[in-house]
């Protein structure tokens, strides 16, 4: 056995020597990943420590599952978990639907310039940051002179003070997400549609299918695979909240937490405001593990019914 190992080691050095410059090229990237991705994984050990900033990771005391116990007993954690998943389900469902509808309808537009121009406009919001998106909502949502409330007033309807009404926030966040990402998301579906063999369309036309029937019986079934793959990819990330969208909008407005506080904002606050490293790492570890399990799970499902589109 020792011989085998030595042989392996020899093979390793031989390979390293033969291709040393090739491996050398990979070194900066590998070092980067080791430092900024793998070291933090080791740091997850804080979840089992009573972390003390002065003593550091190596000096802090181990407390077993104490942090998780605090977490389980915390009144807000259930709500936070629920919000994360619930908002993500809304984002995925509404976002995908909007993207698919945009793609199908753009495909029906024959006017080339018009199609290109509108597509450009529809993708534009994807390119601004979430902070700008949050800034853009001010003219709509602000209580003095906000557009939505002006319209409501015009129709003699009751105005809404948005920043004090948690119940409207899932709709606001979903609208923002659709506004920013639906157009960009449609690109992939549109490409799938235009990738469909034109002979299939012609055959359908000869068989007397009109455009509605073509959509119903040809385009939609062919979009199914793409849609399922993207769905599974997004479901794999369902425990990762959209911090970029939510934090600039909500910040520390605790009135809105009941519907908007997600794992990621919860961890951020626990870290920056409470400085509770142990507990916030425990949340982070839980999120990473659940995320990992979900990605593996969804990918094995993809592999089963569509081996071509599995990621690994």
């Amino acid at each position: 056995m020792a011989d085998k190992r030595v042989g392996k080691l020899k093979g390793f050095f031989k390979e390293m020597n033969k291709n040393r410059y090739v491996y050398l090229l990979a070194v900066p990237g590998i070092v980067f990943l080791l430092v900024f991705h793998y070291l933090p994984m080791l740091g997850l050990i804080i979840a089992f420590q009573d972390f003390n900033a002065v003593k550091g990771i190596t000096g802090s005391e181990f407390v077993g599952l104490e942090n998780f116990k605090i977490l389980v007993n915390s009144p807000s954690i259930g709500k936070v978990l629920y919000n994360t998943v619930f908002l993500n389900v809304l984002f995925i469902a509404v976002g995908m639907l909007a993207s698919i509808v945009i793609a199908i309808l753009l495909n029906e537009i024959a006017h080339k310039f018009f199609k290109k121009f509108t597509q450009t406009v529809l993708i534009l919001p994807h390119f601004v940051s979430w902070t700008i998106a949050a800034m853009i909502t001010i003219p709509f949502l602000s209580s003095d002179g906000g557009l939505i409330n002006s319209v409501l007033e015009n129709f003699n309807l009751e105005t809404i003070s948005f920043y004090r009404s948690p119940e409207v926030w899932p709709s606001i966040l979903v609208s923002m997400n659709v506004w920013k990402e639906a157009g960009f998301g449609s690109v992939i579906y549109l490409a799938t549609i235009t990738g469909i063999d034109s002979q299939i369309y012609e055959a359908a036309r000869i068989d007397g299918a009109n455009r509605i029937k073509t959509i119903r019986y040809i385009i939609l079934p062919l979009l199914k695979n793409t849609a399922l793959l993207l769905l599974l990819l997004r479901v794999g990330k369902i425990f990762y909240g959209n911090f970029g969208l939510i934090y600039p909008m909500v910040g520390s407005n605790s009135l809105l937490y009941p519907t908007t506080d997600i794992i990621d904002t919860f961890v951020y606050r626990a870290l920056m405001e409470l400085g509770d490293m142990g507990m916030s790492t425990a949340v982070g570890l839980t999120q990473s593990v659940m995320g990992f399990v979900f990605v593996i799970l969804t990918n094995s499902i993809v592999k089963k019914f569509n081996p071509e589109s599995a990621i690994f």
Binding site: Y23, G29, P40, I46, L124, V128, T131, W179, A191, V267
Partner: protein, 308 residues
């Protein structure tokens, strides 16, 4: 009516029906696409108009698409202080230097992984891939950067921790794979080394691939604010997006600006219009550059959708 007549009539009818349903699709498609495009562009217009409105008119009459009172006050205020220039230079530095470094490091690791006969290729690929499946999360990363690497308030913290993106790495590797092997092989026969082959042969013909991931990186750096929020403490080092973040949070921003720049304000500090004008100044470059680079993003998305 004879049988033939009935047939032609029903055929005519069905033809009309087809035409109607086809026209309906046109109506729906054009309506939805036009309304959708307007919804996408409308918020930008509203922000643009508000930035040129006087603060009093916003407060008295609300936000409107046609300004009641045209005013350059907000822009004068912003452009007369250093704040926006500082933020711009930080963002431009981070975007240019960051993108260049990212492209370099990404190409260097993507190339070995694109070679067919490299023995440990799959091990390295999995080493990269695993970081997409599992991560240490916010707290360990925060501690690492602030406590152990001591990068707090250092502008490089906006670049180094994200200099290599695994997703972009696989995109570029897939691109490299499409390059004919014979190119590298013939260079090798001529005595060229691997590093020479990468920089003198592979990279020059990979411009479309580099453009695509370069744009992904550039957009990431340009829109970055989260790490600035965590690690940047000095306000002269704020990037643009974090400045926006600060402004959303801090209604007093306009007042501070006016104190700093010494511009005299009438009764009301233009806090709304200043916020909107800052947003416009931040969006500006993206809106101008984006139509020219759009195709690379679309291309990148297509490659990315194929397995990594």
């Amino acid at each position: 009516m004879t049988k033939a007549e009935v047939q032609t009539q029903s055929r005519k009818k069905s033809k009309e029906k087809v035409e109607f349903s086809d026209r309906l699709i046109d109506i729906v498609a054009y309506t939805v696409v036009i309304v959708g495009s307007l919804l996408c562009i409308f918020p930008f217009l509203l922000v643009l108009v508000s930035s040129f409105s006087s603060e009093m008119s916003i407060i008295n009459n609300g936000f409107k698409l046609i300004p009641d009172e045209f005013s350059l006050e907000a822009y004068k205020l912003i452009l007369s202080s250093d704040v926006i220039y500082n933020a711009y230079s930080v963002t431009i530095f981070v975007t240019l230097v960051g993108t260049a470094l990212s492209l370099l490091i990404t190409s260097c690791i993507a190339y070995p992984l694109s070679l067919d006969d490299l023995k440990y290729k799959n091990n390295i690929a999995f080493f990269v891939y695993f970081t997409m499946l599992f991560n240490g999360g916010l707290v360990p990363t925060y501690l690492l950067i602030s406590k152990y690497l001591k990068m707090t308030d250092n502008i490089w913290v906006l670049i180094i921790p994200v200099v290599l993106n695994p997703w972009n790495m696989f995109l570029l590797r897939n691109f490299f794979k499409t390059i004919p092997k014979e190119l590298a092989e013939s260079a090798k026969i001529d005595g060229a080394g691997d590093i020479y082959i990468l920089f003198k042969i592979i990279l020059p013909i990979s411009k479309p691939g580099l453009a695509t991931i370069g744009l992904f990186y550039a957009l990431g750096y340009w829109n970055e604010w989260f790490r600035a929020m965590l690690f940047i403490k000095t306000d002269t080092k704020y990037p643009l997006q974090y400045l926006i973040m600060k402004i959303i949070r801090n209604i007093q921003f306009a007042q501070e600006l006016s104190v700093q720049s010494g511009v005299q304000l009438e009764s009301v500090a233009p806090s709304y219009s200043v916020r909107m004008a800052t947003a416009i100044l931040t969006i500006g470059p993206i809106v101008f550059v984006y139509p020219f680079v759009q195709k690379y993003f679309v291309k990148g998305m297509m490659v990315g959708s194929v397995k990594g």
